[in-house]
Protein backbone atom coordinates (compact mmCIF):
# COMPACT_ATOMS: atom_id res chain seq x y z
CA UNK A 1 0.00 0.00 0.00
CA UNK A 2 1.01 3.59 -0.62
CA UNK A 3 2.38 5.16 2.59
CA UNK A 4 0.00 7.71 4.06
CA UNK A 5 -0.14 9.76 7.22
CA UNK A 6 -2.75 7.47 8.77
CA UNK A 7 -1.73 6.66 12.36
CA UNK A 8 -1.04 3.04 13.15
CA UNK A 9 -1.87 1.67 16.59
CA UNK A 10 1.11 -0.49 17.50
CA UNK A 11 0.76 -3.83 19.26
CA UNK A 12 2.93 -4.55 22.32
CA UNK A 13 5.45 -6.37 20.13
CA UNK A 14 5.54 -3.49 17.69
CA UNK A 15 6.06 -1.02 20.56
CA UNK A 16 9.03 -3.05 21.75
CA UNK A 17 10.39 -3.14 18.20
CA UNK A 18 9.88 0.61 17.90
CA UNK A 19 11.83 1.31 21.11
CA UNK A 20 14.57 -1.11 20.02
CA UNK A 21 14.83 0.61 16.63
CA UNK A 22 14.99 4.07 18.23
CA UNK A 23 17.73 2.93 20.61
CA UNK A 24 19.66 1.14 17.87
CA UNK A 25 19.85 4.22 15.68
CA UNK A 26 20.63 6.67 18.46
CA UNK A 27 17.29 8.38 18.99
CA UNK A 28 16.73 6.96 22.49
CA UNK A 29 19.33 6.26 25.17
CA UNK A 30 19.58 2.64 26.31
CA UNK A 31 17.68 1.66 29.49
CA UNK A 32 19.14 2.77 32.81
CA UNK A 33 21.51 -0.11 33.74
CA UNK A 34 20.79 0.30 37.48
CA UNK A 35 17.00 0.08 37.20
CA UNK A 36 16.59 -1.52 33.79
CA UNK A 37 13.74 0.92 33.22
CA UNK A 38 12.96 2.13 29.73
CA UNK A 39 12.20 5.70 28.82
CA UNK A 40 8.84 7.35 29.45
CA UNK A 41 6.47 7.33 26.52
CA UNK A 42 6.98 11.10 26.06
CA UNK A 43 10.67 10.37 25.44
CA UNK A 44 9.67 7.81 22.83
CA UNK A 45 7.37 10.33 21.15
CA UNK A 46 10.16 12.91 21.10
CA UNK A 47 12.53 10.30 19.68
CA UNK A 48 10.02 9.51 16.92
CA UNK A 49 9.77 13.25 16.16
CA UNK A 50 13.53 13.49 15.99
CA UNK A 51 13.70 10.48 13.68
CA UNK A 52 10.99 11.99 11.46
CA UNK A 53 12.79 15.35 11.27
CA UNK A 54 16.06 13.67 10.30
CA UNK A 55 14.28 11.61 7.66
CA UNK A 56 12.54 14.67 6.21
CA UNK A 57 9.07 13.57 7.33
CA UNK A 58 6.47 15.65 9.18
CA UNK A 59 7.55 15.49 12.84
CA UNK A 60 4.21 14.51 14.34
CA UNK A 61 5.62 11.98 16.81
CA UNK A 62 3.00 9.57 15.52
CA UNK A 63 4.20 6.37 13.89
CA UNK A 64 2.15 6.62 10.72
CA UNK A 65 2.48 4.38 7.69
CA UNK A 66 5.13 6.57 6.10
CA UNK A 67 7.26 6.49 9.26
CA UNK A 68 6.74 2.76 9.60
CA UNK A 69 7.70 2.20 5.97
CA UNK A 70 10.94 4.10 6.48
CA UNK A 71 11.74 2.21 9.68
CA UNK A 72 11.25 -1.05 7.80
CA UNK A 73 13.36 -0.01 4.83
CA UNK A 74 16.94 -1.24 4.30
CA UNK A 75 19.54 1.03 5.81
CA UNK A 76 23.05 1.46 7.15
CA UNK A 77 23.55 -0.07 10.62
CA UNK A 78 25.31 2.95 12.08
CA UNK A 79 23.25 5.27 14.27
CA UNK A 80 21.97 8.61 12.94
CA UNK A 81 22.38 10.39 16.27
CA UNK A 82 25.29 10.10 18.67
CA UNK A 83 27.67 8.59 16.16
CA UNK A 84 30.15 5.93 17.30
CA UNK A 85 32.44 6.84 20.16
CA UNK A 86 34.58 9.39 18.36
CA UNK A 87 33.00 11.50 15.68
CA UNK A 88 35.04 12.73 12.72
CA UNK A 89 34.45 16.29 13.89
CA UNK A 90 35.96 15.53 17.31
CA UNK A 91 38.86 13.73 15.74
CA UNK A 92 39.52 16.61 13.38
CA UNK A 93 39.45 19.08 16.25
CA UNK A 94 42.02 17.00 18.12
Amino acid sequence: PTPSSAPVTPTEDESTQLVDWLMKYGYLPPPDPSTGQLQAWTAVTNAVKSMQRFAGLKDSGVVDEETMALMNSPRCSLPDQGEPSQSPANSKAR
Binding site: F54, P74, C76, S77, L78, P84, P88, S91
Partner: protein
Protein backbone atom coordinates in the same frame (compact mmCIF):
# COMPACT_ATOMS: atom_id res chain seq x y z
CA UNK B 1 48.45 -5.65 14.97
CA UNK B 2 46.25 -3.47 17.17
CA UNK B 3 49.04 -0.93 17.62
CA UNK B 4 49.72 -0.92 13.90
CA UNK B 5 46.02 -0.47 13.08
CA UNK B 6 45.77 2.40 15.59
CA UNK B 7 48.75 4.15 14.07
CA UNK B 8 47.29 3.72 10.58
CA UNK B 9 43.85 4.91 11.75
CA UNK B 10 45.27 8.08 13.28
CA UNK B 11 47.36 8.83 10.24
CA UNK B 12 44.57 8.15 7.74
CA UNK B 13 43.21 11.68 8.19
CA UNK B 14 46.41 13.15 6.89
CA UNK B 15 47.22 10.67 4.16
CA UNK B 16 46.51 10.84 0.46
CA UNK B 17 47.32 7.25 -0.44
CA UNK B 18 44.92 4.76 1.05
CA UNK B 19 45.27 1.02 0.57
CA UNK B 20 42.23 -1.20 0.26
CA UNK B 21 41.62 -4.90 0.31
CA UNK B 22 38.57 -7.00 -0.52
CA UNK B 23 38.88 -9.74 2.07
CA UNK B 24 35.70 -11.83 1.83
CA UNK B 25 32.86 -12.23 -0.64
CA UNK B 26 29.21 -13.26 -0.25
CA UNK B 27 28.97 -17.05 -0.30
CA UNK B 28 26.20 -16.99 -2.91
CA UNK B 29 25.65 -14.01 -5.15
CA UNK B 30 24.60 -13.29 -8.70
CA UNK B 31 27.58 -10.96 -8.88
CA UNK B 32 30.93 -12.46 -9.77
CA UNK B 33 33.96 -11.79 -7.56
CA UNK B 34 35.49 -9.73 -10.34
CA UNK B 35 32.33 -7.64 -10.59
CA UNK B 36 32.33 -7.05 -6.82
CA UNK B 37 35.98 -6.01 -7.00
CA UNK B 38 35.23 -3.61 -9.85
CA UNK B 39 32.35 -2.06 -7.90
CA UNK B 40 34.66 -1.47 -4.92
CA UNK B 41 37.10 0.25 -7.27
CA UNK B 42 34.42 2.50 -8.77
CA UNK B 43 32.86 3.30 -5.39
CA UNK B 44 36.26 4.47 -4.10
CA UNK B 45 36.79 6.47 -7.28
CA UNK B 46 33.67 8.48 -6.42
CA UNK B 47 35.46 9.81 -3.30
CA UNK B 48 38.84 10.12 -5.01
CA UNK B 49 37.68 12.25 -7.93
CA UNK B 50 37.07 15.52 -6.07
CA UNK B 51 39.89 15.05 -3.53
CA UNK B 52 43.64 14.40 -3.55
CA UNK B 53 42.94 10.86 -2.27
CA UNK B 54 44.33 7.92 -4.18
CA UNK B 55 43.27 4.37 -3.50
CA UNK B 56 45.44 1.33 -4.13
CA UNK B 57 44.45 -2.31 -3.95
CA UNK B 58 46.70 -4.45 -1.75
CA UNK B 59 46.78 -8.13 -0.90
CA UNK B 60 48.04 -8.20 2.65
CA UNK B 61 45.92 -7.32 5.68
CA UNK B 62 48.84 -5.48 7.30
CA UNK B 63 49.04 -3.02 4.42
CA UNK B 64 45.30 -2.41 4.13
CA UNK B 65 43.80 0.78 5.51
CA UNK B 66 40.34 -0.19 4.32
CA UNK B 67 39.18 -3.78 4.39
CA UNK B 68 35.87 -4.85 2.85
CA UNK B 69 34.17 -7.95 4.24
CA UNK B 70 30.84 -9.64 3.56
CA UNK B 71 29.73 -11.02 6.91
CA UNK B 72 26.82 -12.97 8.41
CA UNK B 73 24.72 -12.15 11.50
CA UNK B 74 26.70 -11.51 14.67
CA UNK B 75 30.30 -10.86 13.79
CA UNK B 76 31.70 -9.35 16.95
CA UNK B 77 31.50 -5.60 16.46
CA UNK B 78 28.14 -4.80 18.06
CA UNK B 79 26.41 -4.26 14.72
CA UNK B 80 24.96 -7.66 13.84
CA UNK B 81 23.44 -8.26 10.43
CA UNK B 82 19.87 -9.45 10.08
CA UNK B 83 19.59 -11.22 6.74
CA UNK B 84 18.04 -9.69 3.63
CA UNK B 85 16.61 -6.20 4.22
CA UNK B 86 17.09 -4.26 7.45
CA UNK B 87 20.74 -3.45 8.10
CA UNK B 88 22.73 -3.79 4.89
CA UNK B 89 26.16 -2.55 5.93
CA UNK B 90 28.30 -0.36 8.16
CA UNK B 91 31.79 1.03 8.29
CA UNK B 92 33.93 2.55 11.00
CA UNK B 93 35.28 6.09 11.20
CA UNK B 94 39.00 6.84 10.83
CA UNK B 95 38.85 8.09 14.43
CA UNK B 96 37.81 4.69 15.77
CA UNK B 97 41.12 3.38 17.12
CA UNK B 98 40.24 -0.31 17.03
CA UNK B 99 37.93 -0.64 14.06
CA UNK B 100 38.90 2.11 11.61
CA UNK B 101 38.92 1.00 8.02
CA UNK B 102 36.50 -1.87 8.55
CA UNK B 103 33.78 -1.91 5.90
CA UNK B 104 31.21 -4.63 6.58
CA UNK B 105 28.39 -5.69 4.27
CA UNK B 106 25.63 -8.18 5.00
CA UNK B 107 26.53 -11.34 3.11
CA UNK B 108 22.87 -12.37 3.09
CA UNK B 109 21.60 -9.39 1.09
CA UNK B 110 20.58 -9.95 -2.49
CA UNK B 111 23.35 -7.79 -3.92
CA UNK B 112 22.68 -6.46 -7.39
CA UNK B 113 24.14 -4.22 -10.02
CA UNK B 114 22.20 -2.43 -12.78
CA UNK B 115 18.98 -4.10 -11.68
CA UNK B 116 15.62 -2.58 -10.70
CA UNK B 117 15.25 -1.78 -6.99
CA UNK B 118 12.81 -4.67 -6.57
CA UNK B 119 15.51 -7.19 -7.53
CA UNK B 120 17.78 -6.49 -4.56
CA UNK B 121 20.20 -3.98 -3.07
CA UNK B 122 22.55 -2.12 -5.36
CA UNK B 123 26.07 -2.92 -4.18
CA UNK B 124 27.72 0.12 -5.73
CA UNK B 125 25.34 2.48 -3.91
CA UNK B 126 25.93 0.86 -0.52
CA UNK B 127 29.70 0.78 -1.06
CA UNK B 128 29.79 4.51 -1.83
CA UNK B 129 27.84 5.18 1.39
CA UNK B 130 29.99 2.93 3.59
CA UNK B 131 33.25 4.27 2.16
CA UNK B 132 31.92 7.70 3.08
CA UNK B 133 31.82 6.57 6.72
CA UNK B 134 35.26 4.96 6.44
CA UNK B 135 36.60 8.32 5.26
CA UNK B 136 34.93 10.20 8.12
CA UNK B 137 31.48 11.27 6.95
CA UNK B 138 28.44 10.93 9.22
CA UNK B 139 24.86 10.31 8.20
CA UNK B 140 23.09 13.15 6.44
CA UNK B 141 19.43 14.09 6.58
CA UNK B 142 19.53 15.44 3.02
CA UNK B 143 17.51 13.46 0.52
CA UNK B 144 20.17 14.23 -2.09
CA UNK B 145 23.07 12.90 -0.05
CA UNK B 146 24.56 9.46 -0.54
CA UNK B 147 25.13 9.57 3.24
CA UNK B 148 21.41 9.43 3.97
CA UNK B 149 21.05 6.35 6.19
CA UNK B 150 18.16 4.82 4.29
CA UNK B 151 18.74 2.85 1.12
CA UNK B 152 16.95 4.71 -1.66
CA UNK B 153 17.59 2.45 -4.62
CA UNK B 154 20.47 2.54 -7.10
CA UNK B 155 22.39 5.83 -6.95
CA UNK B 156 23.44 5.76 -10.58
CA UNK B 157 25.89 4.31 -13.02
CA UNK B 158 29.36 3.80 -11.47
CA UNK B 159 31.02 5.14 -14.60
CA UNK B 160 29.20 8.47 -14.45
CA UNK B 161 28.18 8.87 -10.81
CA UNK B 162 29.36 11.98 -8.99
CA UNK B 163 28.70 13.23 -5.48
CA UNK B 164 25.94 15.71 -4.64
CA UNK B 165 26.76 19.23 -3.44
CA UNK B 166 26.62 18.47 0.29
CA UNK B 167 28.74 15.32 0.11
CA UNK B 168 31.22 17.11 -2.13
CA UNK B 169 31.54 19.94 0.37
CA UNK B 170 32.02 17.60 3.33
CA UNK B 171 34.65 15.38 1.72
CA UNK B 172 36.63 18.34 0.40
CA UNK B 173 36.50 19.99 3.83
CA UNK B 174 38.07 16.85 5.26
CA UNK B 175 40.66 16.12 2.59
CA UNK B 176 40.93 19.19 0.37
CA UNK B 177 40.19 19.57 -3.31
CA UNK B 178 42.04 17.73 -6.05
CA UNK B 179 42.47 20.86 -8.14
CA UNK B 180 43.87 22.82 -5.18
CA UNK B 181 46.50 20.16 -4.64
CA UNK B 182 47.54 20.21 -8.28
CA UNK B 183 47.78 24.01 -8.21
CA UNK B 184 49.92 23.91 -5.05
CA UNK B 185 52.22 21.25 -6.38
CA UNK B 186 52.48 22.58 -9.90
CA UNK B 187 55.57 24.79 -9.37
CA UNK B 188 57.49 21.87 -7.84
CA UNK B 189 56.60 19.60 -10.73
CA UNK B 190 57.55 22.00 -13.49
CA UNK B 191 60.85 21.15 -15.17
Amino acid sequence: NIKRRRRRAISMWTRRNINWRLHTYPSSSHLSREMIRSLVFYALRVWAEPTPLEFHEVGSPEAADLQVDFLHGYHGDGYPFDGAGGAVGHAFFPSDPDRAGGVHLDAEEEWTFRQPASEGTDLFTVLVHEFGHALGLSHSSSRHSVMRPYYQGPAGDPLHYSLGAQDLETITQLYGKRNQLLATEAPHRAP
